[in-house]
Amino acid sequence: MPTQVEHTEYMYLRPTKKFPNVWCAGCGIGIVMGALIRAIDRIGLEKDDVALVSGIGCTGRMPVYMDFNTIHTTHGRALAFATGLKIARPEMKVITIMGDGDAVAIGGNHFIHAARRNIGITAIVVNNSIYGMTGGQYSPTTPIGGRASTAPYGNIEPPMPICDLAKAAGATFVARSTVYHAVELDRYIEQAIRKNGFSLVEAVSYCHTTFGRLNKLGSPTDMMRQLKDGSVSLNAAEKLSPEERETKIVRGVLHDVEKPEYTQLYEQLVKRVQEANLQKA
């Protein structure tokens, strides 16, 4: 066996945690984990300065594997817990890790308010268009016509546009990529973490075990290839007709603006109040 295996990712895994990880063979969530670690490593963050806050679902099982300050919370509420932690420790990098159902179904309200506040949290949403952990029920991002265990005749609900929602609510950085484009994904995650404000990265993935099986989409390799063929870069997307664009996953940095960040605004408020209070005394 090799005496010198160098792999950045291994430097950030918890040596006391049991591996291999809990996800199905070929699941994209593990790929997102690798991308997240590479991004954090490139920025050069101290492990003690990073907090990962997750919700419930397969994606929510990600933080336990990594050697940071990690907290696995309740379904849909990661951003609310993260808000309290970020306010208490504004100097920390707080990253939330959520699935599509966790983030925009039960978590929808916290999603839009965290974006509205532009609080310095990076939200990574792994979107596999299904509730995988509970056996394949449809989620707010399941495509129309897609079959799920609770949509046996095909889903009739239009999917929630996660990135548009974040942008409309006030997020200052929004990007999307797929687990096929793992290296592009880690660059966007890096940008998102560096951003001083609410930053969202939608990592499009697949669940071959539930959605894939119910819709006859094949193996992890097949579904990986579908992500490759079914997505386009932002530049290429602009050259497509609106109807064509609708059918593609558009990858890129979709939104990147500067606005005051919440915890900094509150610190300024506290200073103002304390100074006024001293003057009164």
């Binding site: 907090a51 509420r77 609310a80 817990f81 309290g84 306010i87 208490a88 506290v270």
Partner: protein, 373 residues
């Protein structure tokens, strides 16, 4: 010391600040809103943080997040919001994260009557969240006691690494009384036990001498995992019975072995009191008035005021049950604490005096029960 005319809800705010609270996240709801308004003003002055979250679920979540980050945190609500918070009360109990939840009870169920009082959340405070878990619940009788019990709530929550509920009611919350606001330097503050081992050796749910594991805050050099799943002493999810069973025992023991510290009771009872009134919160005010009137009429009657509602004062009630032939339990509900008294003292000894329509149980009603009319 400054003598002030203070509202009960305001006393919650001052108690929190005196106890070292540095974080409040909440959602406005009658009759608790004054607590939020007061703290939105006062917390920034002491370098604390206030945020109005988008709902009660997020409010308690943010408080737990802030507590993990090292700040003493509190939220306040009323019945409907308290119902929403139940999941996270269970989360704090499972993860042993200190946090204070104030429930200023209104008439329920449902929207009920926001500006009327009740004591209808007694059982919900104990069992509102799913699963077997211990909890500490305190209920003040006066404005000055509200200050004291708020401080106690924070101290218990830090000492025992548990959520603590301050069960107020709209009467005490909205009333104004003369109150001697103490110098905050004189107020006793308890801090969470810090760990004394190097980071790689830290076991977030182990190494506890007193069943309460030392708690490291995020960002201080101790990296560990917190989860609402059943977990081992490292905080990792587990399904092993030999890890689940010890956790259940330890977490219940940490409260059950400390009842002399946690169960606060005021007793005004003699061996010859054949009738004893057991009351709490606003009903205790009516009860004390009734007891005074009865004693003026030479009736031998004792008065027990429960400041701690949960864990239930089994030892104290057992003792008075041996003295008394009748135990009168007035409550602004249809008999919730009475169920516990009946369990300990026997149903035929207990006389319930109930009112669940938003009005206080009056001294007259209790006096009639004392004099057996």
């Amino acid at each position: 010391m400054t003598i002030r005319l203070m509202q009960g809800n305001e006393a919650v705010g001052w108690g929190a600040i005196a106890a070292g609270c540095k974080f409040y996240a909440g959602y406005p709801i009658t009759p608790s809103t004054e607590i939020a308004e007061m703290l939105s003003r006062e917390l920034p002055k002491v370098g604390g943080k206030f945020i109005q979250m988008e709902d009660e679920i997020a409010s308690l979540a943010a408080c737990i997040g802030a507590s993990v980050g090292g700040l003493k945190a509190m939220t306040a609500t009323s019945g409907p919001g308290f119902s929403l918070m139940q999941e996270h009360i269970g989360y704090a109990a499972m993860t042993e994260i200190p946090v204070v939840i104030v429930d200023v009870q209104r008439l329920g169920p449902s929207t009920g009557q926001p500006t009327s009082a009740s004591q209808g959340d007694v059982m919900q405070a104990r069992w509102g969240t799913h699963g077997d878990h211990p909890i500490i619940v305190l209920s003040p009788v006066s404005v000055s006691q509200t200050f004291d019990l708020t401080v106690k709530a924070f101290n218990y929550s830090e000492k025992y690494r548990t959520p603590v509920i301050l069960l107020m009611d709209e009467v005490v919350g909205h009333m104004r009384e003369k109150f001697d606001l103490p110098e905050f330097e004189t107020v006793e503050r308890v801090e969470r036990i810090a760990t004394n081992v190097p980071p790689e050796w830290y076991k977030p749910y182990g190494d506890s001498l007193s069943d309460v594991p030392p708690m490291a805050n995020f960002g201080e050099g101790y990296r560990y995992h917190i989860t609402g799943l059943f977990h081992d002493i490292l905080g990792y999810p587990t399904t092993r019975l030999d890890e689940i069973d010890p956790w259940i025992e330890r977490v219940h023991r940490k409260i059950e072995r400390n009842l002399t510290d946690i169960v606060l009771v005021e007793e005004d009872v003699t061996e010859s009191d054949k009738t004893i009134v057991v009351a709490y919160g606003a009903s205790a005010r009516s009860a004390r008035h009734a007891v005074r009137l009865a004693r003026q009429r030479r009736t031998k009657v004792g008065m027990v005021t429960l400041l701690t509602i949960w864990p239930f004062a089994e030892a104290e009630i057992s003792r008075v049950a041996r003295i008394a032939k009748r135990i009168i339990v007035p409550e602004m509900n249809l008999g919730q604490l009475a169920l516990e008294v009946e369990r300990i003292a026997g149903r035929n000894k207990v006389v319930r005096v109930n009112r669940a329509n938003g009005e206080m149980v009056t001294p007259q009603m209790i006096l009639e029960a004392i004099e057996d009319r």
